[in-house]
Symmetry: none
Subunit: 187 residues, 4 copies
């Protein structure tokens, strides 16, 4: 085994998505990760710390993904759309991660995350929006308000696609249409 820390995070993610934070004992995580019970506590002092670390880990991976796939050329609308699509495709491909995040944000855990950590990740997304507002491309509304609207729609659309059983192409169509709706709304 190359990296026990990663094995633990990966096992934890799988199990948390399946049974929730409290339905998943640390012993089960350790077993699933192929390490001893106590080893988990070498890497994460407490279960809470593991959960928060997993949250940060996922957020970073998501940010990387969006950054990597950002088509830097093109119009502002095109770049925003790119982000929107990337976020959704990532979510569809990483439903464990997505369920974990949802669980996390509607739990008392976020209080344990250093505030700047959260800022940092959202900053990246809001920068583009900020520019779009300043350029008059979209309505002049508070950035975080717009960010919230877009985010909500992403969450909702993901849930919708996840619980229905659409074909890849139907999914693609719906995602595109939804972005257009959003764009019309914000323009």
């Amino acid at each position: 085994m190359l990296d026990k820390r990663k094995e633990i995070l990966s096992a934890a993610l799988r199990l948390f998505a399946e049974s929730g934070f409290h339905g998943t004992p640390t012993s089960k995580i350790a077993r699933e990760a192929g390490v001893a019970n106590g080893t988990l506590f070498h890497y994460f002092a407490t279960k809470d710390e593991l959960i928060v670390a997993l949250y940060i880990d996922i957020k970073e991976r998501l940010a990387c993904h969006i950054e990597e796939h950002a088509a830097d050329d093109g119009s502002l609308k095109g770049r925003l759309k790119e982000q929107f699509l990337n976020a959704l495709y990532w979510a569809l491909d990483h439903s464990d991660e997505f369920r974990f995040i949802q669980q996390f944000v509607s739990s008392p855990y976020p209080a344990l995350v250093p505030h700047e950590q959260i800022e940092m990740h959202t900053r990246k997304h809001t920068q583009l929006l900020q520019k779009a507002i300043e350029d008059g491309k979209i309505k002049s509304l508070p950035v975080d308000y717009i960010f919230m609207l877009i985010n909500s729609v992403i969450m909702g659309l993901h849930g919708y696609l996840d619980s229905n059983d659409f074909s890849k192409s139907t999914q693609h169509e719906l995602i595109n249409e939804t972005f257009e709706l959003l764009w019309d709304m914000l323009r």
Copy 2:
């Protein structure tokens, strides 16, 4: 005490919103409800059953609220707006209920709710949308898709209002504006 069952549900709601399902022992719920430990299990065979019962209870109360405050006269847009406002004001006035629901839906519990129960509550809301589509008032898209979009925005906006500290009038303005954005988007 008039109704111990209600006392238990009410105490559970308060504590779940505060500390989460698993951060709240049944013993604390019983104490807070002013009943004996065993009494809780007289009304709810398991803690899980209590959680599901609470979910259904809240959903019913929300549905009643929206129904009661539905302005039956007026345009379709007016009636939809009424529902939108009602949902949001109810959520703002019942933040415990709202946090509970959020926790609930992003947990493994929904699997325990009989499917028809869920249908029943959404049906009421979708009927009006269905009519709006048929009358050509809003875009011809799947009802549940539109319902999802509206819902997402309600959830997001609630979270936004909840975490900022706006005055009542600013809140009102934001809610109205948001509805108008939504309406433009769907029209």
Copy 3:
């Protein structure tokens, strides 16, 4: 319902035989007997009292059965055989009762039964043996020793017949043969 006390005893017997004393809650007994939870405690102050009452009840019914079916005429051997057969057939026809008794005697409950109660029932059986010894029909050994031997064989044979699946006639044959073996041994 004619006699709630009897209904309770009857339900208790069935359930005790099935799940043991401690695997059977009083609430289940009450439900099965078709009476309210608290009613059980009108008739039996405690669960222990119910168990002991049931033991005495069964012992009395067994004694009655043996007495009723005692062929008073005939040889001593014939009368003993009659008792042996009656005991076994009763046991085979009343396996719940038999399992209850077995459970009872290998539990701490017998300590709660007034000693004379026990004496009374055995007296009836030992009287005939006493006479047989005095008449020189069977070996001159302590009565309670012989009683123990016979009893043991009855218990063992019952278990044997119960766990195998013999036809009625094979059962009958085995019972007869066993008595003859016993008789030869004691003669």
Copy 4:
């Protein structure tokens, strides 16, 4: 402490014999064994599992005892007698074990013991009987039938000796005489 598992089994045996399975809380067993409450469940997943494990443990120890003390030379009768005496003396010296076994077999627990486990232990005893039948030393009856008869008498005699207060020599005499009675019966 050398072996916590053994300490737990030993404490459980003592307490079960004294107060029955259900009169003995696991917490008391742990305390008596000098281990923490949770340690018990490290070795035995449930209380039931502990009870079954204890049963198997005792059965094995009994089988070992009988095997070890088997006088391999001598006549068939002599060897059978040896087994009979060994079983009885073991039972008299291990009354806790014996009471436990009695309790166990007249409870719903035997259903939890894998069938082959039971077979295995009885096999050893029945082999000698099988041989005796084949050699024409004892009556030609089913082996398990004869085994049952002998067993019943052992159980009964043990109870008899246990509840009376005989001297060692009287005990010895009774055991010998009983074997002779049995032998005459089976011969």
